[in-house]
Structure formats: C-alpha cells, structure tokens
C-alpha cells in the first residue's frame, strides 16, 4: 500500500509541478495546492500505514498507527492553508495592479 501511495503522492507532485510551470497565475496557485496535498500524503505514508488503531487511546488496544506524522501533517495543513490564502489574495492584487495574470508579462526590467 505504501508503494501505491508513494506513487500517488508522486503523481500529485508531478501534476502540481506541471501547473507551476504554466504561465497563468491562477494555474500556478492551483499547482501549489496540489503540491501540498502531495507532500501531506508523503508524510502520512512515511509513517507506517494501517498498522493498528487510530491513535486515540482505548482500553485493550496496544497497537496504534504512528501518531507523529499525523501531528506534523496537521501543523503543515494549517500553515499551507495560511500561505495559500495569502497567495490567493496576492494573486488577485497582482492581477489588479499589473493588469495581467500571465507570468511571462510579469518579468520586469533592471531599471525601475
């Protein structure tokens, strides 16, 4: 299962990267969302999958899935949420002030 999930996460990454290479800001932002999904799936996979119960202590259960990756993902989800929302607003503001959302028109020169 871990191998399948690794491949899936890799696919998400690849799709995200592909979007990152596009010209339109919107697609790039979508790409970052895919990238973080991929990253979270990687983290989860790196703890062992499906070993034991959910990490909530219950009497009689000895084996739980690895709780640490889950904790890390939680932190990471929240952070990427913050960044993504910031990025969205920034994308909007950039579009508004530069009148374009195509990255190849957002190059700039030395002399400004």
């Amino acid at each position: 299962m871990e191998i399948v999930m690794s491949i899936l996460a890799g696919t998400l990454f690849a799709a995200g990267v592909y979007l990152l290479l596009q010209k339109q800001l919107l697609k790039i932002v979508l790409g970052t969302a895919l990238l973080s999904h991929g990253a979270h799936l990687f983290i989860l996979t790196m703890g062992k999958l499906n070993r034991g119960a959910p990490p909530i202590l219950e009497k009689g259960i000895k084996i739980y899935t690895d709780p640490l990756p889950q904790a890390l993902i939680l932190t990471s989800i929240v952070i990427s949420f913050g960044v993504t929302s910031f990025l969205l607003v920034l994308a909007y503001r950039t579009y508004q002030s530069n009148k374009t959302d195509m990255m190849d028109q957002l190059r700039g020169t030395d002399d400004e």
Binding site: L20, L25, I28, T32, L35, S36, G38, A39, F42, I43, M46, G47, L68, P69, L72, T75, S76, I79, S80, G82, V83, F86, L87, L90, A91, R93, T94, S97, N98, M103, L106, G108, D110, D111, E112
Partner: protein
C-alpha cells in the same frame, strides 16, 4: 500592532524592545560561553520527544548578530518608516520576522525549524508588499511561489528522514545517521535538504528569484532580507551538514564546494551586469553566500570558523550597504548609476561611509571581511581546493570593482543633478553603527576570534552537541 496610528510611540516601544533583546542576547552569550549550551525543553518534555530550543555557541552568536541588525533596522526605520508603512503593520511583521529568524537559530528540532522558516517567510511576505506598488506585487509573487515550493520540499524531506531514522530531533538525527554511517538513501535526502536550504540561502542555480525581489521593498526591508533571510539558509546548512550529514564528506561536501565556487563567480558577474545600485548590492549577496558555503564544504575547523566569521560580518555589511544604497537612491532620486555623479560634495559623510563599506565588503584588511575570507581561503588551500580558492580571490576583486564603480560613479565626477533630498540622519546613524561593527570585528578580531574558533571546534565534533542534548 495595536498602536499603528501612533507613530512615535511605536518607534520608542520598538527601540526599547530591541535593546532589551540585545541585552538578553548578550547575557545569553556570556552564559553559554562560560557554562556551555543552554537547553530549553518546551513543555518540559525531554529531547528527543518534545521540541527543544538549544542555545549552543553557534546559536548565540547568531542571535547576537540578529539583534544588532534589529537595532540598526529600528534606528533606520526612525526616519524611513512612514505612517503609511506603520499602518500596514511594519513593526509587528518586523518583530515576527526577528522572532522567526531567532527561532530558526535556536531550535533543536528539524520539523520545528520548518515551522520557524514559515514564520519568518510569512513575515517576509507581509513585509515585501508594504508600499503596495505593482513591482512589489509582481516580484513578491515569484518570491513567494519559489519559497513555497522549497518549503513543501522541506516538509517532504523531513518526512523521508523521519521514515529512515524515526526521529525529527536534530541531535538524535545526528546520532542515528552516524550509527548507520549515512547509508543508502540518506545521502540523497541530504542533497534534497541541501537544495531546500540552498534555495533559501541563494546558491547557484537556485537564487534567480532573489535579486529583483530584494530591491522592490522599502530599503529597511531590503536590508533585513539581505542581512537575515539568506543567512538562515546558510545557518541551517552549517548546522545540518556538521551535525547530521557529515559522514560522506567526499560526496556531499565536494558537491557543496562546486556549487559554492560557481555561485561566487556567477553571482559577482551579476553584480557587474547592471547599473542599478540597489541591484548591484543585491547581487553581491550571492558571492558572499558562496564564500560561506565554501567553508562548509571544506569542512575543517579553520574553514568553519571562517564561515561563521563571514556570516556575522556579512549580516552587518549587507545591512549597511542596503541602507546606504537606499539613502543614495533617496538622495539622488534615481537608482540608475549613470544618472548620478558628484554627490561627495552634497553628501560627503555618506560617500565616505560607502567607500569604507566597499572595502569591508571586498575583504580588504584590517576590516571584518578579511578575517573571514582569510580563514576560508586558507582552509580551502589547506585541503587542496586550489581552484575554489582561486575563484574566491578573483571574485573578491570583482566584488570590489562592482561596488567601487558605485563610489566612483555616484560620488566622484561632476555634480550632474541637484540632490532630491537631504541625507536622512537616522539612516546614516544606522549605517555608521554597522560599519563601526565591521571595523571592530576586523581590527579587534582577537576579541572575537577565540570564541568563533571554539564554536567551529564544537561544530566539527558533533558528539559534543549530541551528548549535551540527549544524555543529560
């Protein structure tokens, strides 16, 4: 944050805070060098289970430097941060940036390092757009996207590392990686992590986002970025590739030397490519980073000491140069060198400070740049990396050329256009403080060097750190 309408009060409060911080930092350094590293177990959970903050020698040196930069930034801010900037939360973002940077220097936990990276990056995202011009939005999009990518790569890599070693505590990582002699996939993970840090630290070919995004914000923000952000990347490399991944030196560290050498050369070529004074200074970040990473790659007690010395020196001089470039652009009303000239008459003090700063940057003795460069070059030659040392020497010449061009072009020659405004006093004061520090760091090297050397010695022998953290 809540006083954003009351300019004066905010400023005074900030000044009070930074000086208080510096006081604490000085005490902390004194304590650490006298009694050994200090460990704060947050939530009282012992390492490796809880997150710990470790103030070892390297960390306190960094903290000390950060606080000095912070003070100069607040002094500079006194005349440059407009009420408009204050209303867009300059000060809260500034302090959180400092907090993020300090946290990154202190933490003993790799995942926590990621969190602090995010704090300082998020603060920098907020700072870079203060002013709200369209250039700023345009460049910050690139800045944020590339940093976001490297952050995502960072957490992913931490996860890989966790899978192999079962821990995220740096000391334990060091112990465990050593135990398996950095076997198998670990070296590849080390390289992934290097790329993460190299993107933050602006190494070739990963720095392309940097120069332009560093010149769009207000000068005080540029200076903070130039002085602090890339250095966090270097610090992380310094920590991780001495403490954790130092068992396949012939592979990883040789690679670092190559990357560092190319960075020095390409970076300084960039500095010669433009006549925009701010951009010249921004490009000069790269050769400096190259120098520091060269020291990490060389991996001897001497070269690591060189890296640390250079790190501290570079923080001060980069901030000073960004300040001065900002002042110059205000004074002249343009950032194009070709439109400047003769300002030594209208702004002699700024001119001479710029001149000295140029010498400091180029590593002319007896200023601080020389000590670091000397150690790095010596270290490199000692380990027979002659080409890298040669490129280092050559790039020093080109660095000098790139900045002395500004001095000659802007300050010498006939006065072409009347200055737009007087040089801002507090800006000069802030630069003067930093330049004075670089002079003291150079001339008074003996007061600092033994500490730096003992720090480097402690880095080269990671056992010390590991024992301290894990076996208390």
């Amino acid at each position: 944050m809540f006083f954003n309408k009351k300019q004066k009060l905010t400023l005074n409060l900030s000044l009070f805070t930074v000086f208080l911080n510096l006081g604490v930092a000085i005490f902390l350094s004194y304590y650490v060098f006298a009694n050994g590293p200090l460990i704060l177990e947050t939530g009282a959970w012992k390492a490796p289970y809880g997150i710990i903050l470790v103030a070892d020698q390297l960390s306190v040196i960094m903290i000390l430097a950060v606080n000095v930069i912070a003070i100069s930034a607040v002094i500079f801010a006194a005349s440059s941060v407009t009420s408009n900037m204050t209303q867009h939360y300059f000060y809260p973002l500034f302090f959180l940036l400092i907090a993020g940077v300090s946290g990154a220097f202190l933490t003993g936990d790799l995942f926590n390092l990621f969190v602090f990276f995010e704090v300082l990056l998020m603060a920098s995202y907020g700072l870079i757009i203060i002013g709200g011009s369209k250039h700023q939005f345009r460049e910050s999009v690139k800045y944020i996207l590339l940093n976001l990518f490297s952050s995502i790569l960072f957490v992913t890599t931490v996860a890989f590392l966790y899978s192999v070693t079962g821990t995220v505590n740096m000391a334990q990582l060091g112990e465990r990686v050593a135990e398996v002699e950095q076997r198998g996939i670990l070296t590849a993970i080390a390289i992934l992590l290097f790329i993460v840090f190299a993107t933050k630290g602006a190494l070739f070919p990963l720095y392309f986002w940097l120069p332009k995004s560093y010149i769009v914000p207000a000068p005080v923000v540029s200076a903070l970025f130039g002085a602090l952000l890339t250095k966090v990347g270097v610090y992380s490399m310094l920590r991780v590739y001495t403490l954790i991944f130092s068992h396949k030196l012939e592979l990883t560290h040789t690679f670092f030397i190559w990357v560092a050498t190319i960075t020095m050369l390409i970076g300084v070529i960039g500095a010669l490519s433009t006549s925009n004074v701010k951009l010249i200074i921004a490009y000069n970040i790269m050769p400096a980073i190259g120098f520091m990473v060269l020291g990490i790659g060389t991996f001897s007690a001497e070269s690591l000491a060189g890296t640390i010395y250079y790190l501290v020196h570079d923080m001060a001089i980069k901030a000073a140069l960004f300040f001065l470039a900002g002042l110059l652009v205000w004074h002249s009303g343009t950032s194009d060198l070709n439109k400047m000239g003769g300002y030594i008459k209208t702004a002699p003090l700024m001119g001479w400070m710029f001149f000295i700063a140029s010498l400091v940057l180029a590593g002319i003795p007896p200023f601080s740049g020389f000590i670091g460069k000397y150690l790095l070059l010596r270290g490199a030659m000692d380990e027979e990396h002659y080409w890298a040392a040669g490129v280092g020497l050559l790039s020093s010449l080109l660095i000098l050329f790139s900045v002395i061009r500004i001095f000659i072009g802007a300050f010498w020659g006939e006065l072409k256009e009347e200055p737009k405004e007087k040089v801002r006093r507090s800006g000069l004061a802030a630069s003067a403080v930093l330049i004075a520090i670089t002079i003291i760091l150079g001339v008074g090297a003996e007061w600092f060097y033994p500490y730096i050397q003992s720090t480097a010695d402690s880095l080269i022998d990671p056992e010390i750190y590991i024992d301290y953290v894990l076996k208390e």
